[in-house]
């Protein structure tokens, strides 16, 4: 997956241009240290999220912080932004130790963080959100709305973006929300802007636009920190890369753009992956822990490369599996209109096959999922479908009950299976939940490493060891592990049709690979799998054919080998089918910031 991104010359040229021009003249003398951590540690319960990390963040550069889910990268930066206090060590912001550890103090010293789940007040307008916390006021604390508006407009101009200042944030898309967050950071004169997984929710075009904006800010002297696990973004945009693994900083180094990038990125990959951490169910015990402590050890490099090779191997297998399969149809959609968006959709899915749905977000993907889930009925046409399991796009609101235990989440919606005469068979429920949790591979966190190393024996003792803690609320898992729970539950139903909507969005590389393997296994078992994703590489890797959805219609079907360019044209509806009747509907669905 990774290599394929890298080898696409057209995209790199596109991403690269601003970097190559702007990044080069930045010498050491113009870079000022904005923040640094000194041997900082933070623990949450039994988990040491950040362990003795020392890291420097400078002005006029884009600093990418990489690592798997739960590696501690968000926690590290929340420490820098004053959102949480350290247990040990020191955080120096603006030349002095940060004290008190509050966002207010961090902001005062010029550090602002844009969170993954935006910290905007939905009911407020964009302008209100931008000024909140550092409002320009006249006498008696009366808001000076003229000044607020003028400054916000100036910031939007500097960013090179349009901001609907009077629109309520709840009515905006993610791209606008993110721009609002960035504008807010600048409104309070932030010199170091930290973004947590900024592109996780963006389309490719929006992500590109974001990096153009970020580069503009870095050129203007701001320090930019981007928490990400997308290595193609690191490769294309970062000036400095740091890698966190299991709470430790294992790698931090500038990217030398004059030298070959492949090798450098491979080193980053190796640092992220660590030792044998990739292999599910195989032991990742003592050896990898030792690796974690030796910064970019030679051994880690090798293991990482092996990992990348393995990944390609999986991809190859998938393709083969997809082509061989020719079972009976498990899903037949014929001429369906639904949800006011889908129009004349026809689609079929055979047992054992993986079909990808590509498209710019908001072109009917949501409605397609709702249709297959039975949330909405077709207004026209027919839908023949076998037993269906859905992996919803928004795991936090639709996939999980965050405050309920893993046990409850793992059997959610299937209580009937465990009920006898109205009483729950708790023993059966417990053992099924345990089985699913083990299969999901979700709870293999820092403290679970040794316990999950050995394959679980049947009738293993109850979780006194704490490794497989079914009582843990789902909220306490990282995003990737939450998603693994959702996937495990969906696949445990042995459904005929598996619909996976953005199955790896906001999920780290290792978890993504696990989830991909799960979906492939489901297809091998005989399910028809429909993968709806904004990530073309994901679709290419998994699907045997890719169906493109634009403006609620299926505009084409291509093999996974189709070029980005061809797919992009289809997705934007440029190829042929833009008849006049669609024009009005198109306004609402047109991607923001799409390249011409």
């Amino acid at each position: 997956m990774l290599l394929r991104i890298i080898q696409n010359p057209a995209r790199i040229a596109l991403c690269y241009a601003p970097v190559a021009i702007a990044g080069a003249p930045k010498g050491e003398e113009t870079e000022v240290e904005l923040a640094r951590t000194r041997a900082v540690s933070k623990r949450f319960g039994a988990v040491e999220a950040v362990r003795r990390v020392s890291c420097v963040f400078r002005s006029a550069e884009i600093h990418a912080v990489c690592g798997e889910n739960g590696a501690g990268k968000s926690t590290l930066l929340k420490l820098v932004a004053g959102m949480t206090g350290p247990d040990a060590g020191e955080i120096v912001v603006g030349g002095r130790p940060l004290d008190p550890h509050t966002p207010r103090e961090a902001i005062r010293r010029g550090v602002a963080m844009v969170l993954q789940h935006f910290a905007l007040v939905p009911a407020f307008t964009v302008l209100e959100n931008i000024v909140l916390g550092s409002e320009p006021v006249g006498p008696f604390g009366v808001l000076d709305r003229g000044v607020a508006r003028a400054r916000a407009a100036a910031i939007a101009r500097d960013l090179g973006v349009k901001l609907p200042l009077d629109a309520r944030v709840e009515a905006l898309g993610v791209g606008d929300r993110q721009r609002t967050e960035i504008a807010r950071a600048l409104f309070r004169d932030a010199r170091l802007v930290i973004l947590d997984e900024p592109t996780a929710v963006l389309t490719k075009a929006e992500a590109l636009a974001l990096y153009v904006t970020l580069r503009r800010l870095a050129d203007g002297g701001k320090g930019i920190v981007v928490v990400t696990h997308k290595l193609d973004e690191v490769r294309a945009h970062a000036d400095v890369v740091s890698v966190m693994r299991r709470g430790e900083l294992v790698f931090t180094r500038p990217l030398d753009r004059t030298a070959g990038l492949d090798g450098q990125i491979e080193e980053v990959t190796a640092a992220i992956m660590g030792g044998a951490g990739r292999l599910r169910a195989a032991g990742d015990g003592g050896g990898s822990a030792a690796d974690a402590r030796s910064p970019r050890g030679a051994g880690a490099g090798e293991a990482g490369e092996a990992g990348v090779a393995g990944e390609d191997g999986v991809a190859g297998e998938d393709g083969a599996a997809g082509e061989e399969a020719a079972g009976e149809a498990v899903l037949v959609v014929t001429g369906v209109d639904a949800g006011g968006v889908l129009a004349d959709v026809s689609l079929s899915l055979r047992a054992g096959e993986i079909v990808g749905i590509a498209g710019v977000e908001g072109n009917g993907q949501k409605e397609l999922v709702e249709l297959l889930a039975g949330d909405i009925a077709p207004a026209r046409g027919t839908l023949v479908v076998g037993r269906t399991a859905i992996i919803r796009e928004d795991r936090q609101s639709e996939g999980l009950v965050l405050d309920a235990s893993l046990r409850d989440n793992l059997v959610l919606g299937e209580l009937g299976r465990f009920a006898r005469r109205g009483m729950l068979d708790l023993v059966a429920l417990e053992s099924e939940a345990r089985k699913r949790l083990e299969r999901s591979g979700a709870v293999r966190g820092p403290h679970g490493a040794s316990a999950s190393g050995s394959p679980p024996a049947s009738g293993s003792p109850p979780a006194s060891g704490g490794a497989l803690d079914l009582d843990r609320p789902a909220r306490t898992l990282s995003g990737g592990n939450q998603q693994k729970i959702v996937v495990a539950r969906a696949l445990a139903r042995n459904a005929d049709v598996v619909v996976a909507a953005q199955p790896t969005r906001g999920v780290d590389l290792a978890a993504s690979l696990d989830i991909h393997a799960d979906l492939v296994a489901a297809a091998k078992r005989g399910a028809g799998v429909l993968v709806i994703s904004a990530d073309l590489d994901e679709l290419r890797k998994l699907a045997s054919r890719i169906v493109v959805l634009a403006r609620g219609r299926i505009v084409g079907e291509v093999p996974p080998t189709a070029s980005d360019d061809a797919l992009g044209r289809l997705m934007l509806g440029i190829a042929a089918r833009a008849d006049a009747s669609d024009a009005s509907a198109a306004d609402g669905t047109r991607p923001r910031g799409a390249p011409p």
Binding site: M83, T102, P103, R104, A119, P122, A123, L132, S134, V137
Partner: protein, 302 residues
Amino acid sequence: MSALDVIVSGTMLAQTVRMTIPYACASLGGVLSERSGVVNIALEGILLASALAAVAVQGVTGSAVAGLLAGVVAGALVGLVHAALVVRGRVDAIVSGLALNLALGGGTRFVLRALYGSSSNSPSVRGVRFGEGLGLFARTALDPFVLSTLAVAALCAWGLARTRFGLRLRACGEDPSAAQAVGVDVARTRLVAVTLGGAVCGLGGAALAFELHQFQAGMTGGRGFIALAAVIVAGWRPWPAVGACLAFAALDALQIVLQNQTRVPAQIFAVLPFVATLLALAVVSRRSAGGGAPAGIGKHPA
């Protein structure tokens, strides 16, 4: 005079306006508190406490202004206690409010007995004498309580929309985590908001006591809860809350007239305001969009 004549009379209108004041002050206090994200069912208790404080202080000092201030301060204090329990102590706001209502219901009786040796009512006080020489209209329109209630309503509406404190208060109510993330001190903002709300509600308590020229045990008779309903009906907005209170007060005034003018058992009319509240809430709670509750109500910042 027939019942209808009384109902459409100027006296009745003036009565309605005066009866609106305790409701309106309590609901404005509720708006301030709840827009900051703290549910306030303690309005009933605040009305009681401030009514007693107003009567007791005027009784001692003979000054209406001192009594009024005492009422406001008592309300603010109860608000502060509620806020401290909820914001600092992380006590559930319903539990805290319920506890305050019970404690103040009993506490005011206890103080009443201790001060005046009566379990039902205080000796009468002068209250606020105003506009003896004026006509009914001027006397009502220029009543200090009416004017101050209108001023408070205007200040609330304007302050929430146009001041830094108002913006932060609303942010705490809509999304406390977001507010905290941008450096708003959520706990402090809520403490101030709920205390201010208590003070405004206390103004209503003093008005209620001065209207009747005495304190009576349990004299609020559910006004705090009806004011809370008005807050909900009004979608947590100050002026509509005053409007809703005016409607409830009109029913209240009506039921008094009907009790006196007809032979129907008084209890039937006495339930009128409550039935109306029930109906209004039933209708409003079905309303899906617009003027909804603050989204962060009852939530603490992460």
